[in-house]
Amino acid sequence: MTIKVHFYSYFKDLTGCAEVWETIPGGFAIADLHQRLMARFPRLGPMQKSTLIAVGVEYQPRDYVIREGDEISLFPPVQGG
């Protein structure tokens, strides 16, 4: 399946884009997608530990299995206020 991935804040600069499409096999977890994206965009690597990942408008754990139609977002620690 092909899913849409969004980047926010300076992750847009690290990847050079605000969104990308990724084609992934069934059973792919968020952790797998994160590895795939770090390979595609090496500058995401150093941010690995602090990267936050959401599916739609909810945070999801690394073992969440991605489903058809999910929109995934990756971003650095939040800084509202």
Partner: protein, 141 residues
């Protein structure tokens, strides 16, 4: 619990917001928090901040925080405005109002809301330094 949430590029107008306050006769305490852009960020002089949000997720995360507040305290209403876009030093970026029967719960709920916002609501800021049009977004290694 009534709630009003606005994540917006429009300036925060405190006077207008005060004029829209509604308070039933059982309410004895109103706590406000105003977050203001400071002239320094990590000990460097800055001229402003640029705020960006993942808007739909930010609204959803705020709603979840509001639901938790409602469970914990007998709050009558909460209103929160978060600015987006370019803000100068001394401009307010955040305005919060919590109305409750007593001060203890009003203070606790207001602080909870801000603490939770800083933990989960997807909003980010970039610093603008003197002489720069825009600062690079990537933090230095």
């Amino acid at each position: 619990m009534r709630r009003q949430l606005s994540i917006t590029t429009a300036p925060i107008n405190e006077t207008v917001l005060l004029g829209q306050r509604s308070l039933s006769s059982d309410m004895g305490a109103v706590v406000y928090f105003l977050g203001v852009v400071r002239g320094t960020e990590q000990n460097s002089i800055i001229t402003g901040l640029h705020y960006e949000a993942f808007q739909s997720m930010a609204e959803h995360q705020f709603e979840q925080i509001f639901q938790e507040m409602e469970k914990r305290w007998p709050i009558e209403s909460v209103r929160l405005i978060h600015r987006l876009g370019m803000l100068k030093v001394n401009e307010p970026s955040l305005w919060v109002e919590v109305v409750a029967p007593h001060r203890g719960e009003a203070f606790a709920a207001c602080q909870f809301l801000i603490d939770e916002m800083k933990r989960v609501v997807p909003i980010w800021k970039k610093t603008l330094k003197p002489g720069e049009g825009r600062v690079p977004r990537v933090p230095e290694a």
